[in-house]
Amino acid sequence: MSARIQDDQRDTDLADAPLDAALRRVWDTPRGVWGALATVDHKVIGRRYIATAFVFLAFGGVLALLMRWQLARPESRVLTPDLYNQIFTVHGTSMMFLFAVPVMEAMAVYLVPLMVGTRNIAFPRLNAFSYWMYLVGGILLWGAFLVDMGPDIGWFAYVPLAGPQYGAGKRVDIWAQMITFTEISALAVAVEIVVTVLKQRAPGMSLDRIPLFVWAMLVTSFIIIMAMPAVMVASTALILDRLVGTHFFNPAEGGDVLLWQHLFWFFGHPEVYIIFLPAVGMISSILPTFVRRPIFGYLPLVLAMVSVGILSFGLWVHHMFTTGLPRLGESFFTASSMAIALPSGIQIFCWLATIWYGRPVYRTPFLFILAFFFTFIMGGMTGVMVASVPLDTQLHDSYFVVAHFHYVLVGGAVFPLLGGIYYWFPKFTGRMMSERIGKWVAGLLFTAFNFTFFPMHVLGLLGMPRRVYTYQLDMGWGGLNLFVSLSAVVLAAGFLLFFYDAVRSARHGEPAGDNPWGAATLEWATASPPPSYNFARLPVVRSANPLWEDDGVLPVAGGLRVDRRELLVTTVGDALPEARESSPRPTIWPLWSALATTALLLGSILTPWAVVWGAVPVTIALIGWFWPGGRKEEES
């Protein structure tokens, strides 16, 4: 067991036990506080990311309940108008920027390296940095809210309301800097995923053998890379307007308020697909396991995701139909908004065919997929409706839209995500979640969700605008609103049950084993939870469903060093081995860099000079990060 590890020791001649011991020596994160802060293990960071995102989901959910309490009856006085404004803003901002996008990227941070058969994500220190930035962004928003400084301008912060003239105080600046924090972290993760997928796949995992969740995350990461700079440009311009008196959004000096909407929605519409495509990928990866056959239409599914990714950049103006843009432009965006229903339809038909030809096993993850079908298709249909300019003009800013986007986002992303959590929980923790409670959770959430949000369509058609803190008795909206609010309580109970199940199962769930579902992809080829080094020997891939086609024997590659962190770089197309590359050890510098960046960004809310003096600690931290330490990982 304790055979001395030589310099340049390879895994080739080692038996399983000494190999495990040797790999643990170089790959394990040290215990204690330093280890916790310095870790660069994608699994540790991924778990943290997922847990943090679900905490923000719970926080955002509490705000939703407060809003429903206020709206349960006409002329209610539970919340003041000002508090109500902060609550719907922080609810939307949390759900979009602190939950939906980060949780999808977090699932990828954990799963993608395992699914492509490598030992750590590309740029593990950047990964650590991105988590810290995300955490600080979340604390900033919620800390401000708790001291009555929460943003109150809606999650899309339209000017002039958010501009210097109407948005007095620092509330808007907090929103805008929260954007900077979360976008830096999202962009960093996107780069890591792109490089992991393109260059670190197991030998033999050619492009047509990549698991569909990984394909989805690759497309998503490219959307993030192309879309998120738009919101950073927008929020930077907003901060400059507010802090140093620029005039980007000031019509009196040649600026333009619609510029904000263009920039925001050029990011904001792809954002929907940044949230939706990972969910699509989860479905395509989970479904085969529960119908016991490979996915139907692998190639059309990949092409559909790529075309959704491209089309998502041609839709943004449909958020602006009521702003008086030229008619021809509106028609173009109507057409493109309807066109994106085509690739979405192709995916749905591929899934239906997969189920049709398979033998469904009705376990909890599969139930969530069924819940997704009904709910998402509903949301998609109302989406096609509001793509039409005349109807949109009528329904814009009404509860119909609130219903529509909750159907799309909860139905299209949260249901598959919860299915994904039930599915991969055994991999994360080594224990199963409860099948009995899981069925209750799926049933409760599906029913209560529809009871909560379906009536909102009707409320919208009855003329109830979104973002009103109350309404008069004689509007006649009281009954439906009360029903919605009561259903929301049941919905919350469903989420509570889910959290209870997750926390309970993490300690007391049934032990899972390596591959409890009998699935086909590589993350199930290692222990649950996986060891720090993921795979003792890197798997070699010969088909799209490796674990179903190799008769219980995993083909692997040998010859890597075990005296340093080493992984494999392969070619983009065919995944042919190119180099044995090293992967960094734990380091505290990403945390220092995140803290230094935090000082700069928070300081700049108060004075532009913070960018100047704040740059000094940032530079020092980055030099500390990149200066080589002389370890074996440096050898080449």
Binding site: V244, H247, P555, A557, V569, P628
Partner: protein, 200 residues
Amino acid sequence: MKQDVVVDLSDLPMNGSGTASLTWWGTVAFMLIEGTGFALMISVYLYLGSLAPAWPIEAPPPEWGPGTGVTLLLLASLVPNVLLSRWAAARDLRKVRAGLLIMAVFGTAPLVLRVWEFMALDVSWDSNAYGSAVWMLLGLHTTHILTDLLETYVLAALMFTRHADNPRRFGDVQDGAMYWNFVVLTWLPIYACLYGIPRL
């Protein structure tokens, strides 16, 4: 799961260079992010310009002098930059050291001249939307010169330490050189925009 060793990786190189290097791909991805940022800022400039009755708004077009000087310096810097990249590919430490020092000078010079370029805009960021757009566009590009220059300083210092003679470092130098090419090439459309559009 039972394992069967079917591939032997022992003879692969211990780090990837060129397109086999992860940092090369990371650098390309960041160039894509920043390139998108530049494209968006140019779009903002053009968008605001298309709305204004007259462009520039209440200001003369920027003076040619300093901006053209910066452009020529940046273009000239491509020569030593390409040479540096080649020397790094050949792992010639002595020449790489010299090349980095030269690039440190070639990075600093346009940055200094940039101060006059800002003044030659003849408009302040808070005068009107035109002023805001040109300052932000020029500011964004200046940030890129500044960060790449700092990287060059650090790399230059690093190459005079014991860590220098390592293929990994030469790869860093090549990636840095590629990024400098990006900083120079993205300047050209910005230059055309800032100095050409107001004179149309």
